[in-house]
Symmetry: C2
Subunit: 258 residues, 2 copies
């Protein structure tokens, strides 16, 4: 079909390393290079594509930043496992969401303390400045590999009821609902991207400066009162959030606000 | 009030650099250190907290990874501006969402090409392998600073109708709806965190290896057919996504699936 094309070409004017990156990425995504398989060496890739070592290194480095490849020092470059994902169109705890997909979940309880809350925590939980809260740090393991670090703050009177709960296998959401009789309502969630600092890197067993998906989540009870404030730090190379968004709502909102 | 506390102490057993990081973070978030203000020098912070330079550096480095501070070589360390955010509870284009919050939006059109689509793009858009698509690259500027790189693929027959559209100020969503008569339905969205590679770093004017929030978005028309496939790369230090999630839906789903 001779359609008019608005711009001249389908000829690639992309830099060489981008073309090689695109070819390797396609090979990873279509399964030519299997998860955990070793990719050809820099030397082999130079020969395959007829390019210099610096070009190959740039392509491999970019795919590593994207989380599709990882390096083991002295061994070579390998294909990352596909990312696990959680569908967040509805509010679920991590174990609740992931175990329904066949993953094995376990939590390392790193600390459970009653502390004087800082300003941000009392603001969010609608407590008097300086109130005590229960602070829980857990690392969540997916098929025995660390995938997220969770920091949770609960008002002390509620949080102290969790001291005997099984925090190693159960979601806090389900403990609140089933053991404490709290009906959960909605959560306000903020999502951004940061680099792993020393503490996060140590907890998630990644290098400092790795990509981290950070979720700030304030969960309310059915009456709309805040009950559970959290920071969730996910390994960028191992996890993604998915959701479905409808246009309809948006157009209603637009009409309302204009 | 002498409540029983389940664990011993409110005394801090945190490492020194974590305590200093927490103090500085609180100062940034409560406005003691204003956006774009310079924070005290390493030397001054050592004196203020009575700690070593290595401890101060670790705290400052961590806050930089978190996106709260940035360094200008030879000038010092400064407080980042608060992140802009987009509420994604409903599906809106970036300009539509941000201009209603008082931001000035402008788009740099980097390329508009008709290309032979790769496998991932034809799969998502439900096209025959090897079909032609229109590929649009834009950098979106918020108050004149780059905040995201958008790569958009549209079926060629639809995309070619955008060649004369004002892609520098208008959202593709609104062009599709208002100029092309496409009613938009829902979008499936995946969110993860990666590091800026060479191309993304250059487009967003950040250093390679900076934190990037990556959104993969497949938008469907009102009949549920895929019409617009995108990768959006947001500066991690400048942007966050926000949404509200309801528990109710989740419990219904849980009942259904068990």
């Amino acid at each position: 079909m001779a359609k008019p094309t608005p711009t001249p070409s389908t000829v690639s004017s992309l830099p060489l390393y981008t073309q090689i990156k695109d070819r390797l990425r396609a090979g990873i995504l279509d399964g030519t290079y299997a998860p955990l398989a070793q990719v050809p060496s820099e030397y082999e890739l130079c020969a395959m594509f007829g390019v210099s070592r610096i070009t190959v290194r740039q392509a491999l480095g970019d795919l590593q930043k994207e989380g599709l490849l990882f390096k083991i020092h002295g061994k070579g470059t390998f294909v990352s496992k596909p990312k696990a994902f959680q569908n967040v169109t509805s509010l679920q705890g991590f174990a609740e969401a992931m175990s329904s997909m066949g993953y094995e979940i376990f939590n390392q309880l790193r600390s459970f303390r009653t502390v004087k809350a800082d300003r941000q925590v009392t603001d969010r939980l609608n407590l008097e400045p300086g109130s005590e809260v229960v602070e829980i740090h857990r690392v969540r393991l997916l098929n025995r590999a660390p995938v997220s670090l969770e920091m949770t703050w609960l008002p002390a009177s509620l949080g102290e009821r969790l001291v005997k709960a099984d925090l190693e296998t159960r979601d806090i959401f389900l403990i609140l609902e089933n053991d404490c009789g709290v009906s959960l309502g909605h959560a306000d969630v903020s999502i951004d991207s940061i680099l792993a600092d020393h503490d996060i890197a140590e907890a998630l067993q990644v290098e400092e400066g790795s990509a981290v998906l950070r979720i700030e989540r304030l969960t309310h009870d059915a009456e709309g009162l805040p009950v559970d404030y959290e920071y969730l730090y996910f390994r960028g190379d191992a996890f993604q959030y998915r959701l479905r968004i409808d246009r309809e709502k948006s157009r209603k909102n637009t009409r309302k606000t204009r």
